[in-house]
């Protein structure tokens, strides 16, 4: 399903394809017309993709076909061995994780997992974890610390699941614990926001030495829809809320909330997932290299300083 703002591009692409087909089937020379339209297409793409609004990026961050955690684990890593369960209650399909190699380097990985179709989305609860998901993540953090392997987290959730069962099992408590557990890692920790970084449910696996973000991903304290529903009393004002929340990659870089932006292919990661995953892999390798020289204690202190410094206030 095309996104609304992409429709002019798709329309032009369709016309070019039609012309090419006509040229092929009739043998008429339409070379000049086609070239003209292709130039127009390039300008149009530049105009639309070069000036994306915050709300348009939010839509790209949710676009079907965008790489999910498992896509990244399968394509950028070698021999991903998925591990299941929180050893207390259940296995949460909304969070996946396990052991993997990145260019031969041993790492522990975890990430929110959205479905790649409706059926899988129901199974994955749309990437909204229950407490057991965060307990699984903490288990994997323990594993990373125990063996001294870097810990890599992929963030892609609208938020932690807001439901009765989640509350009964202490959603707030496990998010707090996961923040604390991750902050105490004595190994290099990198978080990468793939799509949606929805609030505490995202931050629970986001307390890393370096936080990276895909170009069109978003990260904030609340989703634009929920923010609009509260502050504007109308969820339809989400585009305004998206703008006000300054939730785009570039805004977050300026605030110091993220450390680097990973570029996406033109039109968004879903247009060329393999290219996006290649960019992710390169960014992770580069960041791991940067953290290489730090001792376990220095890694902890580095993370402490990183988060301690965030915020804007004036002394009294």
């Amino acid at each position: 399903m095309p996104l609304e703002f992409e429709k002019p591009i798709l329309e032009l692409e369709r016309r070019i394809a039609e012309l090419k087909e006509t040229a092929r089937s009739t043998g008429v020379d339409l070379e000049a017309e086609i070239r003209l339209l292709e130039e127009r297409l390039a300008r149009l793409k530049q105009e639309i993709y070069g000036n994306l609004t915050a709300w348009q990026r939010v839509q790209l961050a949710r676009a079907p076909g965008r790489p999910t955690t498992l896509d990244v684990l399968e394509k950028a890593f070698q021999d991903f061995l998925e591990l299941h369960g929180d050893r207390a209650f259940a296995d949460d399909p909304a969070i996946v994780g396990g052991l993997a190699y990145l260019e031969g380097q041993k790492v522990v990985v975890v990430g929110h997992q959205k479905g790649r179709d409706t059926k899988e989305n129901l199974y994955r609860n749309f990437g909204m974890p229950h407490p057991e998901g965060y307990r699984k993540a903490m288990r994997l953090m323990d594993l990373a610390d125990r063996f001294g392997y870097p810990f890599l987290a992929f963030i892609d959730t609208p938020g932690a699941y807001p439901g009765v069962s989640a509350e009964e099992r202490g959603q707030a408590w496990v998010i707090a614990q996961s923040i604390q557990r991750m902050s105490r890692l004595r190994v290099p920790a990198i978080a990468l926001i793939l799509g949606e970084g929805g609030s505490g449910g995202a931050l629970a696996i986001g307390v890393a030495n370096r936080v990276l973000i895909l170009e069109n991903a978003w990260y904030s304290v609340i989703s634009p829809e929920s923010c609009a529903a509260i502050l504007w009393r109308d969820a339809k004002e989400a585009p305004k809320a998206a703008e006000a929340l300054k939730l785009t990659a570039r805004d977050l870089l300026a605030q110091g909330v993220v450390d680097a932006i990973v570029p996406e292919p033109e039109g968004g990661a879903h247009k060329d997932p393999l290219k996006a995953i290649q960019n992710i892999k390169e960014a992770l390798l580069k960041t791991l290299e940067e953290l290489k020289g730090l001792s376990p204690e220095e890694l902890y202190q580095d993370r402490y300083r990183r988060f301690r410094a965030l915020g804007a206030y004036a002394e009294s």
Binding site: G163, A176, I179, I222, K240, V257, F307, Y313, S316
Partner: protein, 285 residues
């Protein structure tokens, strides 16, 4: 300064403005209450036991030993994102500041509690719903660091709708900042007691408030991650009776004790004395 603030306090949220000044009404059972007595009863209804919200300054007076509280808070909020919804954030801040006489949603300082040296931080629900932005996060981190540096216990009274939307991702980051600052207390074996009052939800519950050595909750307080309205919308069903109330959390193992406000100081002192390595056993304290 601190004392001035005590007297400049706002009326409690339980006050119904339609009834004459000397009297108020219980929010739960509707009984007429003589204000002076209501205050002396710590804003607990003598008939039905309903715990009404307490202004931050009076909370300090309830918990700190008389005459020991020295305020340390006072950081000023900024508007880092230039946030405007139906009103500019800067205007909202100004209105809250005028209304509460406070810079932001937290009042804290050093004191003793039952003789135990402490840093006491109280969130102020009257200021933007007690929401946590950069100032609240920084004051909590500084409070924890001060407690660690000066050998004090940390006591935080939570009352908050969660992280503050108008500072967006920076508010979210305060969750990590506050949690991490608690490590300084861990390193020094100093106690941290959290008191959850009505309401404590969102990013405040899901960060420092949930990570204390001992967690008290006040009877009937709404405590949780998601607010009841959001949950109702998600599951499209009515919520079970007593859902997300303090007693529900006790039953599910999330808090240590649900304590009547009139006994809270006594229990807090006992917990602090038990926990603080520097305080010996003393019979009948």
């Amino acid at each position: 300064m601190a004392l001035e603030r005590l007297f400049r306090r706002k009326r409690p949220s339980g006050v119904n403005r339609d009834v004459p000044e000397l009297w108020t009404k219980c929010e739960a059972c509707g009984v007429q209450l003589y204000k002076k007595e209501f205050r002396e009863n710590l804003y607990v209804c003598p008939r039905c036991g309903h715990h009404h919200r307490v202004p931050a300054s009076e909370r300090v007076a309830m918990l700190a030993d008389a005459g020991t509280f020295q305020e340390t808070t006072g950081l000023k909020p900024l508007d880092p994102l230039g946030f405007v919804d139906t009103k500019p954030y800067a205007e909202r801040l100004k209105a809250y500041q005028e209304e509460t006489g406070r810079q932001d949603a937290i009042l804290g300082g050093t004191c003793t509690i039952g003789g135990v040296p402490a840093v006491l931080l109280v969130m102020d629900y009257a200021f933007a719903g007690g929401s946590m932005g950069s100032v609240v996060g920084e004051e909590i981190a500084r409070g924890a660091e001060r407690a660690a540096a000066e050998g004090r216990a940390l006591v935080i009274v939570a009352a908050s709708g969660g992280a503050r939307m108008q500072e967006a991702a920076l508010s979210l980051m305060q969750m990590a900042k506050t949690v991490m600052s608690l490590d300084r207390l861990w390193a020094k074996r100093l106690p941290y007691v959290s008191i959850l009052t009505d309401p404590t939800t969102g990013g405040v519950t899901a960060s420092f408030a949930a990570l204390a050595d001992v967690i008290f909750a006040e009877p009937g307080a709404l405590i949780g991650f998601a607010g009841p309205r959001v949950i109702r919308q998600t599951i499209r069903q009515e919520l079970p009776e007593g859902f997300q109330r303090a007693e529900f959390l006790l039953k599910h193992g999330m808090v240590d004790r649900v304590t009547d406000r009139r006994k809270l100081k006594g229990e807090l002192v006992r917990a602090l004395r038990h926990l603080h390595p520097g305080v010996p056993y003393a019979a009948g304290v």
